[in-house]
Symmetry: C2
Subunit: 107 residues, 2 copies
């Protein structure tokens, strides 16, 4: 089934302490709380799959996919107090973050 | 709603001819055909959103998200004739591809 009329916000986190199970767990719990932002339609909290090929980036620690029904809902999420709290409480866990925002291609 | 029990395969493509609307369209149509692989549960064909912040990677041309119900379904997709045809017919359109595969985090 084709997903359409959505705004995809996919974030990949690299940990400050890559070996720390404790930090990983704390970040995952932070995301679980972040997921309560009302304008999020669907979300997935992920870890790297064990797949390995040259084109696969598997060095990240956590994947956070948030799907919104509109770009405006994503804008609202960015300034939602729950999101701001998440950044305040969890940003020390990560050393790097990459965000890919995508909208529908007309196809 | 939390997405669970899924395998996320998210691919980002950079075009060989970044300015070519024709190549972009051909790649999008190739993905539309690729989407007919039977083991794909849901998919999204995307373009970069107009959001711009330091952490946002917006230099890619096309986003391809395929959601599978199992890792085995993704394995099967990798060797599906439709996927192999896609690579044969479309790989000359891209200069770079990055793949992020993710599975559920237990949270």
């Amino acid at each position: 089934m084709q997903l359409n009329n959505i705004f995809l916000h996919h974030v990949y986190f690299w940990l400050n302490n890559p070996g720390s199970e404790e930090d990983l767990k704390a970040l995952l719990l932070g995301l679980k709380k972040l997921a309560t932002v009302e304008t999020i339609d669907q979300y997935h909290i992920g870890l790297p799959a064990p797949t390995r090929r040259e084109v696969i980036e598997s060095s990240y620690a956590v994947s956070w996919l948030a799907i919104f029904k509109t770009a405006a809902n994503q804008d609202s999420y960015q300034v939602d107090p729950i999101h701001l709290d998440f950044i305040k409480e969890c940003s020390h866990f990560w050393s790097k973050v990459i965000v890919f925002d995508s909208i529908d291609a007309a196809v």
